[in-house]
Symmetry: C2
Subunit: 255 residues, 2 copies
Amino acid sequence: MPYYFVRKLECFTRLSDENKRALIRLSQNVQLVGPHRDIIREGDSPEYVNLILDGWACRYKTLESGQRQIISFFLPGDICDPHVFVLCEMDHSIATLTPVRLVQIPRDALLGLTEQHPRITQALWWETLVTAAIQREWTVNLGQRSGIQRLAHLFCELLLRLRAIGMTENHTCPMPITQQELADATGQTSVHVNRTLQEMRAMGLITLRSRLLTIPDLDRLQRVAMFNPNYLHLNHEGAHLDANDRDASPLHAKP
Amino acid sequence: MPYYFVRKLECFTRLSDENKRALIRLSQNVQLVGPHRDIIREGDSPEYVNLILDGWACRYKTLESGQRQIISFFLPGDICDPHVFVLCEMDHSIATLTPVRLVQIPRDALLGLTEQHPRITQALWWETLVTAAIQREWTVNLGQRSGIQRLAHLFCELLLRLRAIGMTENHTCPMPITQQELADATGQTSVHVNRTLQEMRAMGLITLRSRLLTIPDLDRLQRVAMFNPNYLHLNHEGAHLDANDRDASPLHAKP
DNA sequence: CGCACGATTGATTAGGGTCAATAATGGTGG
DNA sequence: CCACCATTATTGACCCTAATCAATCGTGCG
């Protein structure tokens, strides 16, 4: 079973063997959660940091009117809010989309880890900032792009994130979510998502069936979406950091 | 001249006199920037952390098509990305909206501050997490709300944030931005914003003229917007923290 | 006073929502 | 292995919000 979160953090910087062992030791008390279950709800007080070992999950908010917005997707290896403890209560919910294997990391365990491993601290910082960048890009996506562009952009993002953790094969990646969920993420109705997907298939932009997405020409899809991958910061920006660097303050990272 | 950023951080937790003096010492080398000027551009490498002493600014992104999305607003006292140095290059731009007084804080100055003042470190953490929460709420706003609701929601958010730093008078606050900018923030055209504002005025929800916004009945506007202020975490959630607490790790904050 | 920018208005159109019905799919138990 | 049921996907008809284009009006300011 691959450790996706190790792969993910290695997108940013080199990790020592000791770093990796420490990360892997977190995977105690693995929990299995079925699909479409809440992991934590708006209003709850955060007690753990959730690390998604495998499967997909999402942040979401439900309005009084019943409308739901999916705010972001969690993929294998993603960690849900490593610094959430500063706040007293959750302002959104997190739910599984597929069956999920996760670990709930107690505050002290995570604190111990970062105290012992400056490089991991840096990498978690990078992960936090990239998460924020993704959220900003979603703001742009919902505010400025058309239906087809929103879906195209989402597919580009998910493909690159999945590729970063080694979950793609050639031009194909898993896409284990329903059209309703794509609709909730892109601020459309499922009816319109359905029609837009058909249009994208007709244009030869994608194949999507059996929960598998194929993008024959990623450049073309990126052009359709006006997608610029810079916000994902996937180019080993922390490669210059010595794996044994003592200084773990994010304010110290030398760009 | 009030120190809005001190007021803002005090929304989270109590600060000692020494904390405050240290914060105020940052205000060396104040810069005056005219309206509608870029402070930092997408692609630039971040060299400073910008602290807005006074005036309004915004994050934005421009697409190849020329469309612009305003991603967030910076109000007096806001600090632009205290932890940005982990990343090599900016994935968005920041520009002034009004004339702005700001300080560009060098990395080392900020690092020194947080090393000396654990309480400030905590408060900056809170600020970072609230900024992320605001971004999520904008995602919901753009994805799920109608034109009038988006504007109403934005006005509610801005009023509460301005009230937190003491910039409101009764039901009135400054709103020094154009309809085009409201449009770029809410993902609409300025024509439609204009019509929606007229509708809101006709409903008695707001008064907006001479760059002043009045909200006679905030509860009512909140209901229209389906606005829930919980995501702003403005209820002194860090009040329990002793101002001399030694431990500054966000993972340690006891909710 | 005149200029530039921002606000306002009107007419028309298009993208996407709504509602409702039907068809595929896939998982389950007998 | 197959029948059944629940979910998910698909289609059609119609409607409405908000975009577009273009012109005009205000207003603050040098």
